[in-house]
Structures are given as structure tokens and as C-alpha cells.
Symmetry: C2
DNA sequence: CCGAAATGGGACCGATTTGGTACGGTTTGA
DNA sequence: TCAAACCGTACCAAATCGGTCCCATTTCGG
């Protein structure tokens, strides 16, 4: 239902805690306690974020997790992709057009692709840092959101590509 | 995965066919044949769209479905809501804040709400009519998209409300 | 050198959602 | 009266989601 799953939501919450003290090193259990979330879930999420390149992990005793980059440089779009894979509203977009089993409506797919593009760029313009502070009227990152959406819609013909996350 | 479900996709395809001949009356089986979709599925979708007020139905022989309003006045947001219920990225938004079982991160919920708001308004500005024609650079509906997104982000403090569809 | 504290990588499971089918009832036009 | 349509709803298999558990591996510290 145009909905991100719960783990992604938790992920932003966890990243929010870490963003407040960027130089700290956090253990999974510590973060779980801080957010009141079940330990195993937090652990699972953290592993995923490491695989996505958003966190760095340090093994062994006194190990833990820390942000891989500045919180201002981690976008919500990246968090979603790390947790859920490519951002693709429809099967058509995800499959690059070949997934339309019924080949039903490829006229529309270009426009779905544009909408997808717009949403992606909007999410790309909101960072973890933005999320942890109350947004004021003219927060630069968020004002740019609108512009990028407009730009993406004015661009050349739709390339029906999903925005894939490089998990490698 | 920030993904609309397949039936919603089909719904836009079906509405697209109907929008091309606004005065026609379409049977479920006819539409299914035209789009190459399984009959029962199309039928199910059409019923849902009637309940959502987007289509009018006419029973009996020579009956069928027709658009309840002009195709330019039916937004993608409405289609999604008719098919999938309220547009709410997170549980928090949907439940009005009380659904946070772990009460984890209500600092962030306001900002999620703003993002949700932006996406909703963007989808509200794209009509079925827009979807059936290749979008040019400065299609008015799509240019407005960006502006509305910006407006929603500049607004007053976030009211964490889902955009509910009145199914009654 | 050993043990505790951490992460890494899975497997696993119940509950929900999704995608699709089926069937009996009701309305309407010829 | 009969067939063409819609209406409602129940049903089902498959996929996804939310969450737990277990064990291997790494590292620090005494």
C-alpha cells in the first residue's frame, strides 16, 4: 500500500540515535535498549545496514557499529534500498519492462516510471540528519525536494529503470 | 518495498482504456479481453473502483461500467486509495500515533508524516488522463507536482494523519 | 592463552498480505 | 422468460513480513 516495512522504519530510528553522536560506537544490544526495540530485530537491521554500506561494523569485544559517513550524507532513499532492495513502484519498473506477464499497458509504464523517479529523488533529498531535527519551513534539503521532483518530470523520455542498490 | 500492488497497476491500465472513450459503457469481460487480463481479476478491480466512487456501474443486460467523472479529475492518489486504502508510509501515520507498539521514535514520526504528505500531494496531481498520453516537458499537472510537494513541506507542524479514503 | 563480548550468517516459523478463482444471487433488457 | 451483466463474498495457494534462535568467527583483556 505504498508503505515502507517496519524494519525500515526502525532502521531510521536507529540511525537517528547514531547520528546524534556520530563518533560513538554502538552495540546492537545498547541500541535496542535505547529504543525499546527487541534485540534480535535491531541486530538484524544493523547487519543489513552494514551490507548496504551505511554503517561500518567492528567485530570482537568492544566492537560495535558506527556511521559509515556523515549523517547528512545518508539519504532516506539509501536506507530504504538497503533494507528493501530497489525502489520500484511497479513490477514493470523492477523488471525493466520484461516482467509484464500480461503485457498489458506498456503505454502507462513510462509514466509510472516518471512518478517513481520523482519519488526516488524526493527521498534522496532527505537525510538522516534531517529526520532527527524538527523540520522548519525552509529547510534547504526539503525545499530542494520539490525542485528535483519537477526536474525529473521535465526530463527526456522515461527510462524505465529501477533505482537499484549496489549490494556488492 | 514502497510498491503499489499489482491490482492497482491493473486498475490504472483499465481506467486508461476507459478514459480514451469516456462516453462508452464497458463490460468487465470486454475490458479484460482488451487488456489481456484474466476476467475475474478485472471484475474484482472494477467493483472496487465503483465502491471508491471512481466508476459508475449499470446492472443488467447491456449494463457495464463508465467513468464517474472526467478522466482529468481522477487522480492516481484516488485510484491507490480506492484499491489499497489510506496512503500511509508507516504504521505510525496510519494509526495516528497510537500504533507505535514500541513507542520507539515519535520524534521521527512527524518527519515521516511530512514525507508522506509530499508523496500524497504529488500523486494527487497526476490524473488518469495524464497517464494515457506521453508526458511532455511542461505538462501543467506534473509541473504543479513539484510546487505542491514544496508547499506541503513548508507548512505548519506535522499532523500525523493518513490520507483516508471515504469508502462509505 | 583463554574467555567474554561482540558481530556474521543463516535457518526457521507463524501471521498476514497478495494474486487470483469460484459461486450463487440480483438486476435488467429483449 | 432467458441471457447478459453486475454484486458479494468466500476461498485458496504462494509470497512476504515480523520476529526468534543458533552457531561460527573475531577481538579485546586479563
Amino acid at each position: 500500500m505504498i508503505r515502507i516495512n517496519r524494519e525500515t522504519d526502525y532502521a531510521t530510528a536507529i540511525l537517528g540515535v547514531m547520528a546524534a553522536e556520530p563518533d560513538e560506537r554502538f552495540s546492537a544490544s545498547g541500541l535496542a535498549a535505547r529504543r525499546g526495540l527487541p534485540g534480535p530485530v535491531v541486530s538484524k537491521i544493523l547487519k543489513q545496514l552494514v551490507r548496504g554500506g551505511l554503517l561500518r561494523s567492528h567485530r570482537g569485544a568492544k566492537g560495535g557499529y558506527s556511521l559509515a559517513r556523515d549523517a547528512g550524507a545518508i539519504s532516506i532513499a539509501e536506507v530504504i534500498m538497503a533494507m528493501e532492495g530497489p525502489i520500484a513502484l511497479t513490477d514493470c519498473i523492477e523488471g525493466g519492462g520484461e516482467a509484464c506477464q500480461f503485457h498489458a499497458h506498456c503505454v502507462l509504464s513510462t509514466n509510472w516510471s516518471r512518478i517513481n523517479d520523482a519519488i526516488y529523488r524526493a527521498l534522496q533529498d532527505v537525510s538522516i540528519k534531517d529526520m532527527i531535527e524538527p523540520l522548519t519551513d525552509d529547510h534547504p534539503g526539503l525545499r530542494n525536494l520539490g525542485r528535483h521532483v519537477r526536474d525529473s518530470l521535465g526530463g527526456s523520455a522515461g527510462q524505465a529503470k529501477a533505482f537499484r542498490f549496489d549490494h556488492g
